[in-house]
Symmetry: C2
Subunit: 237 residues, 2 copies
DNA sequence: AAGCGTCGGCACGCTAGCGTACATAACTCA
DNA sequence: TGAGTTATGTACGCTAGCGTGCCGACGCTT
């Protein structure tokens, strides 16, 4: 089982583009630093930029009612923030929260929409990426519904590790509770269980993945399925 | 509160297209009858056709593990079956189950992909439709997670009523349980509660909506939000 | 009219997870 | 060093929903 991401610092959607496309596209990009906790977008806001994370990553969070939140997708260097713009829609209904600090390429929404029609290879890739995310949204709706906190936590840690590219994750139980839409105490119990099995180890805001294969075993199949779909639809690029 | 659908028998995505587009498109379509329970597509299968329901409707169902199923989206005359083809992807990971018998326009995947580039208005609409469905997937993931069976049932009945275009729905508790990913007995209790409130009435396989506004009141806001997003993104077309 | 299959009501004990609250432990900073 | 803040452990009773199984009612078939 390989991770989604075993490649050097570059956004996977942008690597190995045809020379012309790449040049035009990169010329319109700037590199920005994203810091943890930054909110790039709120529901009903309009995209001013698209982001292609390099070593940062972003959580997409759905809100229902006044205070229920649930992370529904992640965008790291395997993905992008700004899918609606690929569909010529300029708004979002999700919160985009920087979950892993680091750098990203960024381009104005305007440039993006102007350049996209002249970038057929990238455009094709982005459409496939949207398909992958849609499918993940659908199956993770089912996952969130049927699977237990411990499995979901394991899956979430794996996804995060892939995007952070390190074993050491800076995460509090509080934060994890928000992501999974459960109680903080629920995370504590699940984390204790995973630690007792020797899969992770944590102290005060840091979780270290000790046994990745074991963690995959402990997670629901949704993690494997997610990875498999991504590599099928966007193979190595 | 108006429903998504208050229009005569026609697929909403196809109405009022420019003459040329419409003619080319319709010429490639045939009308088919879909019968209840028909499975049009299974996970990993390839699309042979796209469907534009007229008075039928189709459930999209996610599968996790061996026997957990959850309805994640519906396609009636406000939508289509075959979104991945708009993204140039020919497969699906979802089950497409005919949930309301009736007719639909259908076209081969091949024709669809050939005609789409020459149908800019339709193409634009379909992209917006995909955005709507993606957003609904995201928020209904949260809805399924946070809201109770009774609210979710109310919402589901409203969505179904919109697409069926009638007060009388032919549904067993067993079937509803599958859609919502809960026990049959759980549906029975929720249905009893809704009936006690005078919102619905049912006997042996038939549910009648008695008080639509009341049912909206009883459902979570997700129903209203869904409708609002659709009409915002695809206004009356 | 009888029989059978389907559908719905209900009841049992059980579990995961909730809301809440409080205590302890670990860092931070004055 | 000591005070304050933040993160984690844990405990309490509670609720929604689970899995299961059984019974009765309905309605179709013959």
């Amino acid at each position: 089982m390989t991770s989604i991401l075993n490649v050097p610092a570059a956004n996977q959607l942008l690597v190995e583009l045809p020379e012309v496309e790449r040049n035009a596209f990169m010329a319109a990009c700037e590199t920005v630093e994203l810091s943890f906790g930054e909110v790039l977008l709120q529901p009903t806001e309009t995209f001013t930029h698209v982001y292609f994370p390099i070593d940062s990553f972003i959580s997409l969070i759905a809100v229902v009612g006044t205070d229920s939140r649930l992370e529904v997708a992640m965008a790291g260097r395997e993905g992008m923030l700004g899918m609606p713009l690929v569909l010529s829609v300029e708004e979002t209904q999700l919160i985009a929260l920087v979950q892993g600090a680091g750098s990203a390429l960024r381009m104005t929404a305007e440039s993006f929409q102007r350049l996209l029609p002249d970038s057929p290879v990238l455009h094709q890739r982005l459409k496939r990426y949207i398909y992958v995310v849609m499918t993940q949204l659908a199956t993770s709706a089912a996952c969130n519904h049927f699977h237990r906190i411990e499995e979901r936590l394991a899956r979430w840690l794996l996804m995060t590790q892939d995007r952070a590219g390190t074993d050491q994750l800076n995460l509090t139980h509080e934060f994890l509770a928000m992501m999974l839409g459960v109680r903080r105490a629920g995370i504590t119990l699940a984390a204790i269980a995973l630690q007792a099995r020797g899969l992770i180890c944590y102290q005060r805001g840091t979780i270290t993945v000790l046994d990745r294969p074991g963690l995959i075993e402990a997670s629901c199949d949704c993690y494997r399925d997610d990875c498999a779909l991504y590599t099928k639809m966007l193979p190595m690029i």
